[in-house]
């Protein structure tokens, strides 16, 4: 009930925000902080010590039993981390919104996006999953359209139509599942994930339909990630969106894609043929390299970081493909005994699968950090292209150091969160796809180089005197960024905080290939 209560609170505060005509910023910050704190408390209660995999806080509220519509909620160790990440991102987005007369509705959009994200992650009924999945689009669309920079019309339109197009394929896949379930279970209609997401059931679906539904799900999720070749909405949306919107895009929407892969499809990973998995790995690698190369040639820091974000999500796709591919070779019993503290049982596909999930969490935090810093840089200097910046370390040392820290976390410096996920995936997928590792290294080198390059061009070197006097950030702004940095640091130093529930989650799925 606690979980449901938090969700209802997040819906109520988002609706309530329309009632506030003044002091919306305080309202948004406080209410998103409340949701965040409650989520953390909830996590501590359920996941800190006693989590042994599977779904907790299961609740089913029947809305229409004969057509199988329930409001069902439950979380796993994985979704719980995404919930924490999501609420942190919404909180940060509320903090870095520029407060002026026009931006009053912005806070409402942020809170609605937060409630929608919450709904996606806790829903265990496909109807509501889909509803929340779409609901998140609307506030982000309005954010880009109303408060966006140049090209906001076309960017917002492109964003909405493109991602909605992807979602429609998810809808078709869901409906296919629904229909075949009712055919094979003598007319029982249900949208419950617990019934529909069943490997042996899905494997009884005729081949053409099964391929179709796999395609539908993957297409919809990869659009959100975003992955090559369905990414073209990304650069315009990220660049046009106001900074809180960019943070939600980078942290929230990629969470949706990642959750789709690891939360929806991983439990039924037995349905994938190895061809599909190789295609996924290939797409991940292409994303990684292609986005890294594209990022190298960007002048705008915001656009560059948009590509960096997409490149980092390439790791997630690789982890998903390689992990299932490798895990397919071992037995269910070996899976169930997986334990993070026992090296020998830990090392079969679980490493990259949990690494992929870790990467989603780490990537969200890092991107929130980077875009928040970029927001402050843009606020101080009015510029966001590398050409127009330069040497701002001299004027704003604290801000520059924090930006540097964000960049280093993003390129995967050991000790920070980004490293752990990438390293796990790197090591883990070596088992499954040995030679392809070469390309990964290539991608990582490019990634490192443009991050360093960005730091050099914008932070160091001779000061660009055209910028005039810019002040450093004040203590309030420092505390926002330091908070994020500390989180990135902690899960970089003590990754088991995240890993333990993730591994329990995977182990509890009980043998991926064996099902």
């Amino acid at each position: 009930m606690f979980l449901l209560a938090i969700f209802i609170i997040s819906i109520l505060v988002s609706i309530g925000s329309f009632a506030f005509t003044s002091r919306r910023k305080e309202y948004a910050i406080i209410s998103s902080a409340v949701v965040m704190v409650l989520t953390v408390v909830y996590s501590l209660l359920h996941f800190a010590s006693s989590y042994s995999g599977g779904y907790v806080s299961v609740s089913n509220i029947a809305l229409s039993t004969s057509t199988g519509i329930y409001f069902s909620t439950a979380v796993t160790g994985f979704t719980d981390w995404l919930l924490i990440l999501g609420t942190v991102i919404i909180f940060i987005a509320a903090l870095i919104t520029k407060d002026n007369k026009d931006s009053r509705t912005m806070y409402s959009y942020i809170l609605i996006a937060g409630a929608g994200l919450y709904g996606i992650l806790i829903s265990r009924n496909f109807l509501f999953f889909y509803i929340f999945w779409e609901v998140v689009l609307i506030p982000v669309y309005f954010m880009i359209g109303q408060f966006g920079g140049k090209n906001k019309d076309s960017a917002s339109m492109k964003f909405f139509v493109y991602t909605q197009f992807g979602s429609l394929f998810i809808l078709l896949a869901i409906l296919t599942l629904y229909n075949f379930y009712s055919l094979s279970h003598s007319g029982v209609l249900t949208f419950q994930m617990s019934a529909l997401l069943n490997t042996s059931f899905i494997n009884t679906i005729p081949v053409l339909w099964k391929d179709f539904l796999i395609f539908g799900f993957l297409f919809g999720f990869l659009v959100k990630m975003p992955s090559f070749p369905v990414h073209s909405w990304l650069p315009d949306s990220y660049e046009s969106a106001p900074f809180p919107g960019t943070v939600i895009l980078a942290g929230g929407l990629s969470v949706m894609g990642g959750y789709g892969l690891f939360g929806i499809l991983l439990p039924v990973s037995g349905i994938f043929s190895s061809t599909v998995l190789y295609v996924l790995i290939l797409l991940g690698i292409i994303s990684l390299i292609y986005f890294a190369l594209t990022a190298m040639f960007q002048q705008s820091l915001k656009r560059m970081m948009a590509f960096a974000s997409a490149a980092a999500m390439g790791f997630v796709t690789i982890a998903f493909g390689a992990g299932i591919l490798e895990a397919g070779t071992i037995s269910a019993s070996a899976y169930a005994s997986a334990n993070i503290y026992n090296y020998s049982t830990f090392y079969s596909g679980i490493l990259e699968l949990s690494g992929g999930m870790f990467q989603i969490v780490a990537h969200g935090l890092i991107m929130a950090m980077i875009f928040a810093t970029l927001y402050f840089i843009t606020e101080k200097t009015g510029k966001q292209t590398m050409m127009n910046l330069g040497g701002i370390f001299r004027e704003a040392p604290v801000l520059s150091s924090l930006f540097l820290a964000g960049l280093l976390a993003s390129l995967g410096l050991p000790g920070l969160a980004g490293f752990i996920g990438e390293f796990s995936i790197f090591v883990g997928s070596f088992q499954a796809i040995s030679w392809i590792i070469f390309f990964l290294i290539f991608g990582m080198i490019i990634t490192a180089s443009y991050h360093i390059w960005a730091a050099q061009k914008s932070l160091f070197g001779p000061y660009n005197e055209n910028l005039g006097k810019i002040g450093d950030i004040n203590s309030k702004e420092i505390s926002i960024l330091m908070g994020l940095l500390i989180m990135i640091f902690i899960i970089g130093i003590v990754p088991n905080l995240v890993y333990v529930p993730l591994v329990s989650y995977i182990a509890h799925l009980g043998g991926i290939g064996a099902l």
Binding site: T67, E134, K152, F160, L175, T176, Y178, L183, W209
Partner: protein
């Protein structure tokens, strides 16, 4: 059935029963005449509207209590009272109720004629909702059509007149086709009763009847390629009349299409399937693609309503296909229930969208005329945005649930390729709905203010948005519709 036996036996036994079952019809008709009579005393038009609304509101529970329940067949199956017919009758009464107050502002001359006509039209709709005989359907439908020809001409300027003339002529052509088709139907089957076909004497005549009836009712429902009148008419007529034409009469045409082609032509559903699958695809694709480049807001809505008619017609396709391939009655019931739900939501989506045009006090409404509405009246802008998103099928609205059920029906009817076409179409449609939203929310308002924001114009929009959202949350309603859906076949 032998027509002579029909007259001698059924009529005497049926007449007493029909009086009770048709009490709402008599009631509304009598109120219509009273309103006409009141016109002599120059009663304030608000009172007239109030009486009309109240009469319709009373007729809803009357309809429910007198016609729902186990099927009652009268006059040898000419009229059948069951839950299915009751549902549609109530939906159509609601569609008439919906425009009573929004129309109030623009109807200055002879308002009593307008409201009396609206009541008579509603009477025709209710009769049509229970008819299973081509002749009764035709008469009821014509009484509705003739009423709407007059409604369409209410208004001052020449465009309204042009629109209504155009509507009248094409409507008459449609009527001619229907009559022609009906006579071929009789030739082939020796009956006008849709459920009374025992043998088909002449398959050729049957097929000709099918083709002519499709053309006739295609005109009425504005299906591609018989849609052209609809754009001019919706564009030219007064907003609330456009709302009624594109929602109420369209739903009526949909109901009749369901009935004539699925019940009357049940021995040749294969042909029905082929005809309608082509029409459905063309209609929704054409409507959506043509709407993309429209700058005239009412025409844009007109094209969108053509596309929506294409979605509705999918129900006929699914049922015809499932019945020919023997996929079972649960698929058929689900599809019909999807159509029933869609019809109800459609009234508030499409009707609401057209009624929103009342906030702009211009005759020819361009897309740019609505820019800046969000600044002037946020509540109206948000409500209109909700209505447009519902039309586009975005979740948390009734429009989404309607499409959702329809797509489930398509997939369970094993027409997955058609589901993909429908989904691609609804992805395309997002473009032009978003263009309107863009104009409202972040385009600078025009220099010359053309808004007419009063309680009368704003509240219908807000109310329909609330209903659209509420229907999206009414999950428990659908199983009820499924249980009533079988009533289509009597």
């Amino acid at each position: 059935m032998n027509p002579y036996v029909f007259f001698t036996t059924s009529i005497t036994s049926g007449l007493s029963g029909v009086l009770v079952h048709y009490s709402s019809v008599f009631f509304l008709g009598i109120v219509g005449f009273i309103i006409l009579a009141l016109g002599i005393f120059r009663i304030d038009k608000r009172i007239t509207a109030g009486i009309t609304f109240a009469a319709m509101a009373i007729s809803l529970p009357v309809l429910y209590f007198t016609t729902s329940g186990p099927a009652v067949s009268m006059f040898g199956g000419t009229i059948i009272f069951n839950d299915f017919g009751t549902y549609f009758a109530m939906v159509m009464v609601i569609s008439s109720m919906f425009i009573v107050f929004p129309a109030l502002q623009k109807i200055n001359l002879k308002s009593e004629v307008f409201y009396a006509l609206l009541l008579f039209i509603t009477v025709g709709m209710i009769i049509a909702a229970f008819s299973y005989n081509i002749i009764t359907i035709f008469i009821a439908f014509e009484s509705v059509s003739i009423g709407t020809y007059v409604l369409a001409s209410f208004g001052k300027d020449r465009r309204t007149l042009e629109a209504s003339i155009k509507y009248f002529f094409t409507g008459t052509v449609g009527t001619a086709f229907i009559i022609f088709g009906a006579s071929f139907f009789f030739m082939a089957t020796s009956t006008f009763n849709l459920r009374g076909i025992t043998t088909v004497n002449s398959p050729e005549a049957f097929l000709i009847a099918l083709a002519f009836l499709i053309i006739g009712f295609g005109f009425k429902m504005a299906l591609f390629p018989l849609h052209q009148w609809a754009l001019d008419t919706y564009d030219g007529t007064e907003n609330s009349v456009s709302a009624f034409l594109s929602s109420g009469t369209k739903i009526l045409a949909f109901l009749i299409i369901l009935r004539i082609f699925l019940v009357g032509f049940s021995s040749d559903l294969q042909s029905v399937y082929y005809f309608f699958v082509i029409i459905a695809i063309l209609t929704m694709t054409y409507g959506n693609i043509a709407a993309l480049s429209q700058n005239n807001l009412k025409r844009l809505l007109g094209y969108s309503s053509i596309a929506q008619a294409g979605y509705l017609i999918l129900v006929v396709v699914i049922v015809a296909y499932s019945a020919t391939n023997k996929l079972g009655s649960s698929v058929i019931d689900f599809a019909i229930a999807a159509g029933m739900f869609y019809s109800l939501v459609y009234i508030f989506m499409k009707g609401g969208a057209f009624i929103t045009m009342n906030v702009i006090s211009k005759e020819k409404i361009e897309l740019s005329d609505i820019s800046g509405l969000a600044k002037r009246s946020p509540a109206t802008a948000v409500s209109f945005a909700i209505i447009l998103l519902a039309l586009a099928g975005i979740p948390l609205t009734g429009g989404f649930m309607a499409k959702y059920y329809l797509f489930i029906a398509l997939i369970s009817g094993q027409l997955w390729w058609l589901a993909i076409i429908a989904i691609l179409n609804s992805a395309i449609s997002v473009f032009y709905y978003l263009r309107v939203i863009q104009q409202m929310f972040w385009k600078e308002p025009q220099k010359k203010d053309t808004f007419n924001l009063t309680g009368w114009t704003k509240s219908p929009v807000i109310i329909s948005a609330i209903i659209v959202v509420a229907l999206g949350l009414a999950y428990a309603m659908f199983p009820v519709l499924i249980s009533a859906a079988g009533g289509l076949f009597g």
